[in-house]
């Protein structure tokens, strides 16, 4: 997938996401123990690892839903972890999709998409409304624009949630186990939307164990365990010839 290729790391291009020696403690528990990684513009990175490996914590630190104990994170050239950074401006550019969808239940699908652009970016209603329509039809839900989330299936809700994140026109999309709360028959419809997004060149960081998606769309797989990055590489090499025992053992469990 040529259009997904990261630009040559000639030292001049700025990575879209850069994590440097990230540590995070929850009381006595060390969730992250020195994670460093980079995601290049247009790159699709899948983060895998056993539960409790810190992958969600790492993802949530990128838009500062979690604050690191130490370490630094940049999105483009802006430092997320710096105290005086206007985190809201960064969050506008970093879309996030949650395991539990988190759609706003008191708003229709269309209103879910319109809320943030109108109150954060002060875009006029005609524009946010037209954009909501376009995004909903892009995720195949044009006919559900006026439905409330409770009247949508899990797969439909997650597609609306993706569209809601896209409505802010983000440069990066973070996915935190987007299909783990879904019934098996609904996983494909969500992955298809993510696949389209990857093909269009969106920079994506996905915490997920969907190997099919990894093979089809990921440029790179990062394996995390016990708060550390154990190894990273293209999907084929990680899945077929993992370099570490821990990776091997984990893959045996989930494949």
């Amino acid at each position: 997938m040529a259009h997904n290729q990261a630009p040559a790391s000639d030292g001049e291009s700025v990575p879209r996401i850069r994590v440097q020696d990230a540590h995070k403690r929850f009381g006595d528990v060390a969730a992250l123990r020195g994670v460093s990684l980079e995601v290049q513009p247009g790159e699709v990175v899948l983060v895998i690892g056993p539960s409790g490996s810190g992958k969600s914590t790492m993802l949530r630190s990128v838009n500062r839903l979690e604050t690191l104990t130490s370490g630094r994170i940049w999105v483009d050239e802006e430092e997320v972890t710096a105290r005086h950074t206007d985190i809201r401006r960064i969050r506008e550019e970093v879309g996030m999709v949650f395991q539990s969808f988190n759609l706003f239940p008191h708003l229709t699908a269309r209103q879910n998409l319109m809320l943030a652009p109108s109150i954060v970016k002060h875009e006029p209603t005609e524009r946010t409304s037209a954009r909501a329509e376009a995004l909903l039809s892009r995720v195949g839900l044009a006919d559900k624009a006026d439905a409330y989330p409770d009247h949508l299936s899990g797969g439909q809700q997650q597609r609306v949630a993706i569209a809601r994140a896209l409505a802010m026109n983000p440069k990066v999309m973070l996915f935190d186990e987007p299909t783990s709360a879904l019934d098996p028959e609904m996983i494909k419809e969500v992955l298809d939307v993510m696949l389209d997004l990857a093909k269009e060149g969106m920079t994506m960081m996905v915490v997920s164990h969907e190997m099919g998606f990894a093979r089809a769309a990921a440029d790179r797989v990062i394996f995390m365990d016990e708060g550390e990055v154990v190894e990273t590489g293209p999907p084929s090499s990680i899945f077929e010839s993992p370099g570490h025992d821990r990776t091997k053992r984990f893959l045996e469990h989930i494949l």
Partner: protein, 264 residues
């Protein structure tokens, strides 16, 4: 999980007068009490018009005054309660502590004592009209209770809602106003309805400040004619009809909102 528990606790917090949703039987307790009371209010004046019809003509002023006290108090109490609830979840320690102290102090003092205190004790320094004092005391008291309901209601909204709003670039205030509070209002509607009904009943306490509410009018009538049994029977029946009417109204509103949106 915690959210579910919170919601359950909300519904049983105050001895709920709200009729259960499945209470559709022809002879439900609500129907027997409500139509029984209305029946008596019609039958008694017909059977013996002399005291009862006179009493019924004497008390409407009092009903209006009771409404006035109740409506003004609940409106102010809701405003106080909203801000108290927000302060109770505030991360600013001073604000948080002040609200908590207010809630503890007010909940620890009987409403009757608060009424005396605001009208007579503070009245030594600032003289306010009886009705105003009554409304202030009721609002301050119920504001504390409603503050706790608002706090629980805000905390009952799943954490992911705030996270999703923040992740979209909203400020905490925007998220609160546009995402959290609209959901809170739905959650707290039944307990707020309960508080409204409780306030309606407690408003009878203001009669000790000689505010001419429903109870006071009944007492005035009885004091003149010595027909205590008749006067207070009518007063009790009118209170009963009012509270049962509003409890039904709250139940219907709750059902409407529930049908429109049933949260996860």
């Amino acid at each position: 999980m915690a959210a579910v528990d919170d919601r359950r606790r909300l519904e049983v917090s105050d001895g709920a007068l709200i009729p259960a949703r499945d209470d559709k039987a022809g002879f439900s307790a609500w129907r027997i009490s409500f139509f029984g009371a209305i029946g008596l209010l019609i039958a008694l004046p017909l059977v013996s018009p002399k005291p009862f019809w006179e009493i019924l003509r004497f008390i409407p002023d009092g009903v209006l005054r009771t409404f006035q006290v109740t409506v003004f108090s609940i409106v102010f109490a809701l405003i106080i309660g909203l801000f108290t609830g927000l302060a109770r979840i505030s991360r600013i320690t001073v604000v948080n502590r002040m609200a908590t102290v207010y809630v503890e102090v007010v909940r620890g003092i009987p409403l009757l004592v608060q009424l005396y205190y605001i009208y007579y004790a503070l009245g030594q320094f600032v003289r306010v009209p009886r009705l105003t004092a009554a409304i202030i005391a009721m609002s301050v008291c119920y504001g504390a209770y409603l503050g706790e309901i608002f706090r629980a209601g805000i905390q009952a909204v799943p954490k992911g809602q705030m996270e999703a709003a923040l992740a979209l670039g909203m400020s905490r205030t925007q998220a609160l106003r546009r995402v959290i509070l609209p959901q809170t209002f739905r959650i707290i509607l039944p307990p707020v309805g309960n508080e409204f009904i409780a306030l309606l009943k407690d408003s009878s306490l203001v009669s000790i400040l000689a505010v001419a509410d429903l109870l006071r009018r009944g007492r005035e009538y009885a004091a003149r004619t010595f027909e205590y049994f008749e006067a207070y029977t009518i007063v009790a029946l009118v209170y009963l009809v009012l509270t049962l009417f509003f409890s039904k109204l709250v139940a219907i509103m709750e059902e409407r909102l529930g049908a429109h949106h049933r949260s996860s």
